[in-house]
């Protein structure tokens, strides 16, 4: 999904050749402004940053949530 957000990615998909074999093939096809490895690494970095950001958002929101009763909500 993250790869699909990249306009340089023409095709991105995965397949599980055999359900009992723990091997997944990822196919990435990009336009010539990018390379598949670049797009792949970028997508993972973006997801990692999104999760880092989400974690921070949760921590902040927890503090805010605990403050709410004190402010007479």
């Amino acid at each position: 999904m993250q790869l699909h957000r990249d306009p340089n990615v023409l095709f991105a998909g995965y397949k599980l050749p055999h359900p009992l074999q723990y091997k997944i093939l990822v196919r990435v096809h990009t336009a010539n402004q990018s390379t598949p490895t670049q797009a792949y690494t970028q997508a993972i970095n973006d997801l990692d940053k999104e999760l880092e950001n989400l974690k921070q958002a949760f921590e902040d929101e927890k503090i805010r949530y605990e403050e709410r009763p004190k402010q007479g909500y």
């Binding site: 990249d6 990018s34 997801l47 999104e50 958002a57 929101e61 927890k62």
Partner: protein, 330 residues
């Protein structure tokens, strides 16, 4: 291999709003992300966040009516306080021990000894009879009783009293005895459901309900009532003052399409439009008590990030082989 230097970022910045947060329950809104992220979180919470559970049982004496493996299975299902589980080692990759027995990094030992002596009453052996060798890891209701004795802030109600009886393991008749040693290990729900910290984790898309007010004006009060009644859950209501149909509780909508079908049947297609917001989710998380709901969410994010690290391309990725050469060449 080239690095992703200068790559353009398509990162999202999800927003969170907590609606309710208790020890073992959380309800929150997650916005500005997509279903793949929401579902990944849900699945990791259920099956990949580690906890501690009894995994190895050595029975010394068992003259109860239940057989050894039946009791071992019941012991495994008792939720244990697992706040320390993230920092523990899996016994399979613990190098301080052979992975079979007890070492402080990967396992916690429990003892249980119960014998029904003189009285005619049956003796109930519960999780309260389990004696832990590590105060950080114990059955969750023992921990709760301990907290209760310490703080005593919350009022003592009947539900709390029922909790304190512990989880029943087996009943013993006069003369019967149960004595055993159990080893609890770290594990994940994917290996066995006993390690799952989640009781339920669900998410729903936030519905967006639009009423065509112009078309609605053409309805009689009776027709409006029928329309409101046609929804199996109480989504709509009629404003007693203006007699207009209003959305009372959008989240009660179960995507059943009943009101839309009703509107069509009344010959008013497009009267009500309901769409799922693709980037907005309402989560409910319930835990077994092994870890708090907040810990579960945070640990799930941590685990998901570890999984991302596992699928990163290595600079010296030998597995890529000819494909790697092809990629660089291309």
């Amino acid at each position: 291999m080239e690095r992703a230097a200068g790559g353009v970022s398509y990162q999202r910045f999800p927003r969170v709003r907590i609606r309710e947060l208790k020890d073992d329950y959380a309800k929150f809104e997650l916005r500005d992300t997509d279903a793949s992220m929401a579902n990944a979180l849900r699945r990791v919470m259920i099956a990949e966040v580690p906890t501690v559970a009894i995994d190895l049982v050595e029975i010394e004496v068992n003259s109860s009516v239940l057989n050894d493996e039946f009791i071992a299975h019941r012991l495994g299902l008792i939720p244990l306080t697992s706040a320390a589980a993230m920092a523990m080692r899996f016994s399979r990759d613990c190098d301080a021990c052979d992975g079979d027995g007890s070492c402080e990094y990967c396992s916690v030992e429990f003892h249980l000894a119960a014998r029904a002596t003189d009285s005619d009453q049956t003796l109930e052996v519960t999780s309260n009879d389990l004696r832990s060798t590590d105060p950080k890891v114990c059955p969750v209701d023992q921990a709760r009783a301990y907290q209760h004795a310490l703080g005593g802030t919350e009022p003592f109600d009947t539900a709390a009293a029922a909790d304190q009886r512990g989880i029943l393991i087996v009943k013993l008749r006069r003369g019967q005895e149960l004595r055993l040693r159990a080893i609890a290990r770290k594990g994940i729900g994917k290996d066995h459901a006993k390690w799952s910290p989640a009781a339920t984790v669900t998410f729903m898309y936030e519905p967006e309900i639009r009423i065509n007010e112009e078309l609605m004006e053409t309805l009689t009060l009776e027709e409006k009532r029928n329309l409101v009644e046609s929804s199996p859950t109480k989504v709509f209501n009629i404003d007693p003052n203006t007699q207009q149909v209003v959305v009372e509780d959008a989240e009660a909508y179960t995507y059943d399409d009943e009101v839309i079908k009703k509107a069509d049947a009344m010959g008013k297609p497009g009267l009500i439009e309901i769409n799922a917001k693709e980037d907005s989710f309402i989560f409910t998380v319930e835990t077994t008590g092994a870890i708090t709901a907040y810990e579960l969410i945070m640990n799930a994010i941590t685990v998901l990030r570890q999984k991302l690290d596992a699928v990163r391309l290595q600079d010296d990725d030998a597995d890529l082989g000819e494909l790697g050469a092809h990629l660089v060449g291309g």
